[in-house]
Amino acid sequence: MRRIFQYAFILAGLVVTPLSAGAADLESALELYQSENYVEAAPAFFEVMRRDPNSDRRDQAEIYLADSLAKLKFYGAAYAYYQDIYKAGRTNRYYLNAAEGLLDLQTDLHDRIFVPNLFNEKLDTKGLAQLDQDRIAQVNYMLGELHYRRNKLRDAAAFLEYVPTDSNLSPKAKYLEGLIQVRKNRPKKAREIFEGVISSVPADSDFREKLRVRNASLLALGRLMYGVANYDASSHYYGEIPRGSQFWFQSMYENAWSYYKQENYGRALGELHSITAPYFARHHMPEAYVIQGTAYFVACQWDRVRRSVDMFKTTYFPMLEGFSRYMKERKKPDAYFLDVIHGGTDLLAGELASEVRRSQTFRDYYYHFKHLEWELAEIATNDMWRGTKFGDDLTAWVQSELDDLKQVVGVWTKRQLRFRLKNLKAFKGQIDILDFEVTDAEATWLEQGREILKGRRARLPRPAIPNDQWQHWRFNKEYWKGELGYFQHTIRSECD
């Protein structure tokens, strides 16, 4: 009997000792955390998480580990632990903390992949309803955007509808709702929504992101009005896009078509004159020569049509040849991403790479990518973590995220490039037809005994100005930044 007691005492001692040791470890890790020594706190929490038999303390250690990593800006590493808790659901008492941590790092990391997909897969509306209003709005917007990208428009609209109007994300959500209406071919409704975005964000707003969405809405309205053949309104919206803003080039590029459709060829050529200025040298603009050539064709100015055709041939025929070969090569998806990052290759022209890089999506991916790379490098050079189980685990997690990211972004980049290749081929086809048509027209004129070679043309009068608040300047072959967007040609039909 006495022996039994002795055994029982030893057994109890064996159980209690690690329990009390685990509590002490957690306590000391928490002390490190509270003293903001996250570099040491993180591996301490990791050890508690690994070794403590008490599941509650393990959970507590895991959330603090994730928070420590997030505070050190190791967002990719933090994601690994937050998502673990989040996946466990409300049964884990740190579920909401994990959700909040994930939403914060989604913003900080510009993450368009991991957190949105995680929330979509493990969406617990009751659980997430306990978050504050801003975070609920973030979840709704994030999932709305995800579904929009997946072309699940009804689901996207359902999420976006729940982004409250007083939320900072409201203009972005409304903008997406407008795009959804466009996809559903409801231009009237779309116009209403886009105009709502514009009126909700002042043109001089201090919020850069809101201003960006306002300008994007103006661009969307320009396109929308073009699509419904309201070219005057289209030009109006394009013209409202602020000079120097991120959509300025695009607005002038597209407005050329609007002016063309209004038969205002002088302004169409003026817009093209602006976008072909040296300031936009790195932009991809094959269609500019198509519009330019067509505008001159309408005016029967064959020599100038030829000049546009030749410009296209000189620039874009070799580019297209290399681009086609590039896209035919067998590559892993991430190779496309890396080539674009490096500004192209021998076959992939720099302006095409720039064109892909210019999108917000790419920039977000790139930011995410660079951050994960930075995390890997930092983990490898951290004396405290290097060569430890903790360091190895973090490296494995972040490396795995980086590989996944490169895969996803690679596929996205390839799709973007393929889209541009298709367009470039289409423009080549149009230039070929223009080339043929101008040759045919010249032959017809020669048959009719008409002169196709023009001498020096007389200078044509200045375009009209709306009122005395406007003034004319003559273009003297020198581009001034302040004049971009204000060019107008005076062009006279030579058909008769």
């Binding site: 994007a216 040298a281 500019a288 037809i433 003034q471 040609h489």
Partner: protein
């Protein structure tokens, strides 16, 4: 035939950038990158991605950088005489203009009281000291005040880059009329402590400094017609604005009037051309 060709072209040229792309946009969020603008303000056409011929009629139709129409322009100015023969001037003046149109305004300009500082040029001293000569009395008269009402017409405008800042300017011509007030030389009164030897019948008190320098002083002419002169004012200038309200003005203005001096019955006359250079900070109100 032409119409057929045009129609076929219209059909083939389907805008790739417009409506369809809104719906198929890859980017739900707008692009971030701003237009890549060079640091330089002007760029050579040789770097452009298009070609244009000499005979293409290309214009810039641009809203004015600043508008003056129906605005008041207030300008405090510093002035100095340009290449004065006998009498030089420095001083301060004030201009108030109302712009009826962008290129036309009415202006009232006046020198500020007690802020006109005439002085004799070195040649006057030279002829007094070394040549024992005296310029004609009328040439030694000094303008002490001017006021003018003039019309400004600005037909030319331009712009230039100044250390990376683009400045718009306009050139204007100005013409008007006004009045000037003058002073005439006078010899020291006999019996005055400062009476100059052999100066004849004295007319005015002369300060020590005046006596040491040229030996005569200055007084308001006895006759009103010799004191207050009607003048014509002609000039031209340049104004540029750094902001919508603040700018600089440079102006050259010639004040012309028929002057007359009567010294003990000996009358001398001259058409005075006082060329003044003005520089001032201007404010649009």
């Amino acid at each position: 035939m032409n119409r057929v060709i045009l129609t076929s072209l219209m059909l083939l040229v389907v805008p790739q950038l417009a409506y369809g792309q809104v719906a198929s946009s890859e980017d739900a969020s707008p692009a971030l990158e701003t237009a890549t603008l060079s640091e330089e303000n002007s760029e050579s056409a040789s770097q452009a991605r298009t070609k244009f011929a000499e005979d293409e009629s290309i214009y810039v139709v641009q809203e004015r950088a600043y508008s003056k129409k129906k605005k008041f322009e207030l300008t405090p100015l510093f002035f100095t005489a340009v290449n004065p023969k006998f009498v030089g001037y420095v001083g301060l003046s004030l201009s108030a203009a109302y712009h009826l149109r962008e290129n036309f305004s009415l202006e009232l300009m006046t020198s500020l009281p007690y802020a006109v500082f005439p002085f004799y040029s070195p040649i006057v001293y030279d002829v007094f000291y070394y040549e024992d000569l005296t310029p004609e009395r009328v040439d030694l008269k000094q303008m002490t005040h001017f006021t003018g009402l003039s019309a400004q017409f600005s037909a030319l405008y331009g712009k230039f880059e100044f250390y990376g800042v683009l400045l718009d300017y306009d050139l204007y011509a100005t013409a008007g009329f006004g009045i000037t007030l003058t002073k005439t030389p006078c010899t020291a009164k006999i019996g005055s402590s400062n009476a100059s030897t052999g100066a004849g019948e004295g007319e005015c008190e002369v300060t020590d400094q005046e006596r040491r320098q040229l030996g005569f002083g200055l007084k308001t002419p006895d006759e009103l017609a010799d004191y207050l002169k009607f003048s014509a004012q002609l000039g031209g200038g340049l104004r540029m604005f750094f902001t919508e309200r603040l700018g600089l003005r440079f102006e050259v203005r010639n004040i012309v009037y028929a002057d007359r001096a009567n010294y003990q019955g000996a009358v001398t006359t001259d058409i005075r051309n006082i060329m003044l250079l003005f520089v001032g900070a201007t404010v649009l109100l």
